[in-house]
Amino acid sequence: MSTFLGMPDVGHAPRGVGHLRGEEPFPAAARKALANAQLRRNIGHATSTIRAKRAAVVGEVPDWEELRTAGRDIKNATMHRLDSYLEQLEANIQARGGVVHWARDAIEANEIVTRLVKATGSDEVVKVKSMATQEIGLNEALEAAGITPYETDLAELIVQLGHDLPSHILVPAIHRNRAEIREIFLREMPDADPGLTDEPQVLAMAARKHLREKFLTARVAISGANFAVAETGTLSVVESEGNGRMCLTLPQTLITVMGIEKVVPAWTDLEVFLQLLPRSSTGERMNPYTSMWTGVTPGDGPQEFHLVLLDNGRTATLADPDGREALNCIRCSACLNVCPVYERTGGHAYGSVYPGPIGAVLSPQLTGIEDNASLPYASSLCGACYDVCPVKIDIPTMLVHLRAEHVDARRAEGRPSPEALVMRAAAWTMSNPRRWALAQRLTRLGRLLGRRRDRISQLPPPLSSWTASRDLPRPPEETFSEWWTRTRGSQP
């Protein structure tokens, strides 16, 4: 992939590759998800469990707010000089025997990784859970090149064996309960014990047995990264099961695919994020395993290391001063777990590997708003996400901003939607006292409806989507303004 100088360069994630776009708008996808009672039970159970755990371990940290502020400041400072931190990271990794590759988008990243794997002569790879490789559709690209990827994270394994899509950032199989997981294992794992029960412990052991031989013989591993330290060239993977350690330690070759926004300036910045991330994501004081490596260590671990730095819409996101904080996300998924919308629809309705509140602000920016136009509206703006975000991303304000971006883009096309006409008319009416008073008097025509129960139970579209499940009060005989004028004698 190469571009001649002077070529226009937009930089959104390209269409036709990866998993950032859904097949239908959110409301339609949500309707299907809402009809699945089992899904709602599974997700409701899991998110309420994790919410309680998170609240407990966050509550015991006396300086939690100061850590959040530091996390936000570090991320903002990083984005401001992202170019120099990436150059510093690259130089330090190269000095320690690693190779750094740059990918402007998913297509290029997939090409680089495929070429690197082929160069090793291996036709299979073991994979650590990685949002970046899910985002770019790396598994599909590898399979198309005759390379078999083995997902080794338990939830990713459940998704892969179930021929399914991830529905949560941290726990991609959150939409599956233990009984469903047992069925998937029995069906898809040739070595599964037919007497397998649905005890989580037993299921975890089945995964251990299934992957053990793969780990011990794998020659190539592919990982993502949670953090990369510019000043030292150190990369970090935060995990629980030990599958990450297996992939980062046993194979001869390690290929890490990382979004460019994951860099942090200084080694001591990790002392902030290693406190914020585990408590926010799994609700633990610390996750079982965190691995850190700097280039290649002779005699210990992979002796060939490649880092692929991925743009794929991140620079386009960086270009919006009111949207760029979405890049500060450390992928903890706390916002998903508290979101009343996510809790009811699950992750698939968002159509992107990044679901929930953070997905609703990140996915449209990575793809360009026109490809994910319904996502910024997939929120009641309740604000629960902002409260739990470990790096204080103001998601509600960003959602409102992206809605305006979308409306402004439509406006520029010069074809006003019915909604735009209603909004314009309402604003026109309400910005003038006489017009507003007249409109209020007209509202009283609504009194003709709902005479029987003093309630309105049926309205024409689009308000029918209100009255499908709720009544409306019958308009009163007298507005507040009329009462005030009548009783106090002055016109409000």
Binding site: S2, T3, F4, L5, D9, G11, T49, D63, T69, A70, D73, H80, L82, D83, L86, V99, H101, W102, A103, R104, D153, L154, V171, A173, I174, R178, Q201, A207, L211, F215, L216, T232, S240, E241, G242, N243, R245, T249, L250, T268, E271, L274, E284, R285, M286, P288, Y289, T290, S291, M292, W293, T297, D300, G301, L309, D311, T315, A316, L318, A319
Partner: protein, 219 residues
């Protein structure tokens, strides 16, 4: 700077494209100002102080790791007791070449570049550590004295880790500031675990399913 994916000098490399996009995107945005670091840098307790030992032990037990306290000259006996309690035959354990004492007994296998398959056939591993964090119940290995290659503490199913009291600091920042980032680092907080089934934590997946900590305290 050499771009490993570009051969033609006449075209813009992806590196230049991405860096150029970043510079254009940030543009003349105002500097966000200094990072406020008003969080606790230390825990207020000295490394190895009794309250830190108690906190560390409490956190480890919460993760379902076992903790046994002993004096410096009792480590070998403590390790022997742990192994005897887990195996009804002499346990086969691996140790790094530079373990500070005969902790695992004379029969221990000294790692001299064992293959993963060989390690998989052993019962456990006995190592020292670099630093430990009381507040989070974390042990950090850095490949230094008595810790060996990363693979030896990963493949065997039992990890016996000997932690000296003076290696235990209170908080995460105190730990991070003691580490050398150029070394391969592993932070371990309890046995391997997963929350991937219904977000309930289950101990024991791919990493060692059992973590036994021997806490060396002054007499």
């Amino acid at each position: 700077m050499v771009d490993p994916d570009q051969g033609e000098p006449a075209v813009t490399s992806s590196r230049d494209v991405v860096l150029g996009r970043i510079r254009a995107a940030v543009g003349t945005a105002p500097d966000p100002g200094p990072v406020r670091r008003d969080y606790r840098q230390g825990s207020g307790a000295l490394p190895g102080s009794p309250e830190l030992l108690d906190l560390f032990e409490d956190r480890l037990v919460d993760y379902k790791a076992s903790v046994r306290r002993c004096a410096a000259d009792e480590v070998t006996g403590a390790v022997a007791t742990i192994l005897a309690g887990r195996f009804d035959r002499p346990a086969r354990v691996v140790v790094p070449a530079d373990l500070p004492g005969p902790w695992a007994g004379p029969a221990a296998v000294v790692d001299d570049g064992l293959t993963p398959a060989h390690l998989d056939a052993l019962d456990g591993v006995v190592t020292a550590c670099a630093v430990a964090i009381a507040e989070t119940g974390t042990i950090v290995l850095d490949g230094g004295a008595g810790q060996g290659r990363r693979v030896i503490t990963l493949v065997p199913d039992l990890h016996v880790c000997v932690v000296r009291a003076d290696q235990i600091v209170g908080s995460v920042p105190e730990c991070v500031r003691r580490l050398d980032p150029e070394r391969p680092l592993t932070f371990i907080s309890g046995p391997s675990a997963t929350s991937d089934i219904e977000l309930s934590r289950v101990e024991g997946v791919h990493g060692p399913r059992t973590l036994e900590v021997v806490l060396v305290v002054p007499r």
